[in-house]
């Protein structure tokens, strides 16, 4: 069967099918993108909680989160600060934990 040798009424249905197919692809694409951006957000939140716990400065983490999906800039990495005193306790807790 070829597009050129089908009846006009069938051709009309075929064209509608083609449009529907495109819309379906679009919906699938959107769902995928939405889920990926959701995962980024989830990861950022989880990291923020963890970072606060172990005392990595929150502003540095927020900066990092902004760069997710792009390359991490060296300049920003240098600017990271860790308040060690605050973090030591939590690190100890993590260290003693077994997975």
């Amino acid at each position: 069967m070829d597009v050129s040798n089908i009846s006009p009424s069938e051709r009309a249905e075929l064209d509608r099918l083609a449009v529907y197919l495109k819309n379906t692809d679009l919906a699938q694409q959107k769902s995928k993108e939405m889920a990926e951006s959701s995962f980024r957000q989830w990861f950022a939140d989880a990291l923020k909680v963890l970072a606060t716990g172990i005392g990595i400065s929150l502003s540095a983490i927020v900066e990092y989160i902004k760069t997710i999906g792009t390359a991490v800039s060296v300049g920003f990495a240098r600017g990271v600060e860790i308040s060690r005193a605050k973090g030591e306790q939590e690190r100890e807790r993590l260290r003693n934990k077994r997975y």
Binding site: V3, I6, A18, K22, Q41, W42, F43, I54, I68, A77
Partner: protein, 293 residues
Amino acid sequence: MLLYLLNKFIKIFKKEVTTMSIYKSKMQEYLSQLREILFANGVSKDEARLIENELFKKMNDEAPPRIAVIGETGVGKSSTINALFNTNLPVHDFAACTQKVEKINATTANGDSITIIDFPGLGEGIMADERHWELYKKELPSVDVALWVLSAGDRAFGNMITALRKISDICSDKELSRLVFGINKAEHMSPEKWNIRTNMPEENHLNNLIGFQNTVLSAIREIIPEWNGKIETYSAHKRYNLDALLLAVLQTVPETRRWKVKQTSDVASWEELVDPEFLRLAKQINEEGERNC
């Protein structure tokens, strides 16, 4: 039996290398970036590994989707969940008329968990029962999404109006924003011109579906004027518009929970029910269209 198990295994395996690994590999990508920062700040390798493990654990521990389904008995609530998530909820051909909220912990064919909160039909007896509304009040705040299923062409949605009015009285705006409306059984709309080759409604059929959806929307807006949630028309049996329905569901789920719902979904293939020759030609038309752009 062996074939069944084999198929199941292949499915799980395929999912593992497709959807599952999307998030796993994303996670790995983020973590390798993070590692640089941690090392630059005197965090040891072991410590960094602990942080990574903690994040992985959090990902694996993320609670399964919690989905409420609301609607009269027989509209296809269970069929809809089965079509979107590949679960195996029992489907009733005759009105079962369950009278209580059922919380079902289901497992998808891929082995993922999902919690379904099935609200019983909105018959008059039930609606007069205050305990029924207590359950909505109790359960709705904690769901990812509440899918309200109607049946296409069923103009007697007086029960829905009464129920929605009551729900809008007892629920906060935030809880109401978790609602998605789905109009199922698209093929049952008059004039029932379902094209079996394209597995789609023909034009006059589609126009009636659009008309019906608009009628439902106006009815919702009469009760909740500022309503701007999602509404989709689909068919669980024909698998028509299920991708659009899933998108509507995802748009309604809280942002940080969308990936989990998407990961659990496994939408029944609409294409499988299209005449293969027609499908091939339609794809050809689209490809040619793209080339001409």
